[in-house]
């Protein structure tokens, strides 16, 4: 009885995982953001609505930075002189601010989705 329930739970969990993994990356438009002197370049850009976007973030500073956005639900550490990839969207139209959590005073930006 006990084992039957556990088996069933495992089965549904596996099923959920399989569905989730079946939709692995189709090619998404790439947007490049560079970090230099704790600033984002570009700090503001537009992306189309309802589209998955691949953000390629290049940190040119020697210090690490953390890309963070509450609106996008994203958070990722990018160590100094390296690059990182973050997927966002599909998003509904609106403004989505992001910031560098390690240097929030200067590292600010926003994504305009239209």
């Amino acid at each position: 009885m006990n084992r039957l329930i556990i088996n069933r739970i495992l089965f549904y969990f596996g099923l959920l995982l399989a569905i989730a993994l079946s939709s692995i990356s189709q090619a998404a438009p790439i947007i490049k953001i560079e970090i230099k002197d704790h600033l984002f370049y570009p700090s503001e850009f537009s992306v189309p609505a309802n589209t998955k976007i691949k953000l390629l973030i290049i940190n040119n500073d020697p210090t690490p930075e953390e890309f963070e956005s509450y609106e996008l639900n994203r958070e990722k550490v990018i160590i100094g002189n390296s690059k990182a990839v973050i997927f966002i969207g599909p998003l509904s139209p609106g403004t989505y601010p992001f910031f560098g959590e390690f240097y929030p005073k200067t590292a600010q930006g926003k994504i305009l989705v239209n």
């Binding site: 989730a20 939709s23 690490p64 639900n73 160590i79 990182a84 973050i86 969207g89 509904s92 390690f102």
Partner: protein
Amino acid sequence: MLPNAVILILQETLEAALLIGVLLAVSTRVHDSKRWLPIALVSGGCVAAILANQMGIISEWFDYAGQELLNALFQTIICLAIALAVWLTATIDPLNPQPGKVAAFSHCAIIIIFCAVVREGQEIILYLGGFMYTENFQKVLTGGALGFSIGASIGILLFYSLVDHSGRERRTACLVLLALFAGNMLSQSTLLLMQIDWVTQSPPIWNTSTFVAETSIFGQLLYPLVGYEATPSPIQAAAYILGVTLVTGANFMPRYYPEKKKQQVQPVRGNDA
């Protein structure tokens, strides 16, 4: 520089501090030695330092998905270890604790705190490391120490407010907190999988940001405590519910499926009692 360091380190410390507070409160029922705490803190700190040092290489794994996969793994382990720890506490007889189960509980606690410390520790180390050779290092360190102390104090406060209550109330409060923690961990791990596009993102099921903004103090406190997210996606919500169900299920299962007599007289294994 200083206020930012306080907030950042506080945010990172809070999750582990709250977890430690609850686990310590739970373990008063189990009557184990509290040796798991220093073991987990020290080993977690060391591994966090190694991972922070190697973050450049780790980040590039699986086509720049390494960081997310590693953190998602830690979060999933935390969730499962919480469920196991809750199941153990539900089956341990507080008047006559079985040494094997008490040792197993200690091991679960080590795993939980170890993973939490590794996850948050590496971020703290990377952050502080970035200021190492700048004139601001002293300020950032002071701010960090302040943030850490506030986080630790909140954990201690939680512990004492939990042990202050009678057995039944305390057990319920601990169970609720641990279930929400587990849900939060699983939900966060799906978010990381969305970030690397291993799971497709779908539109949020609701938006409560006008109600409680994630940037507000209340939102910032709710995030580590119950995993508050203003715009969760359906998969995130499902993962949250799964985590909560796992832990509550682990608590109530022994009640409905009591162990057989044979299993109760297992040979004594651990020596952690």
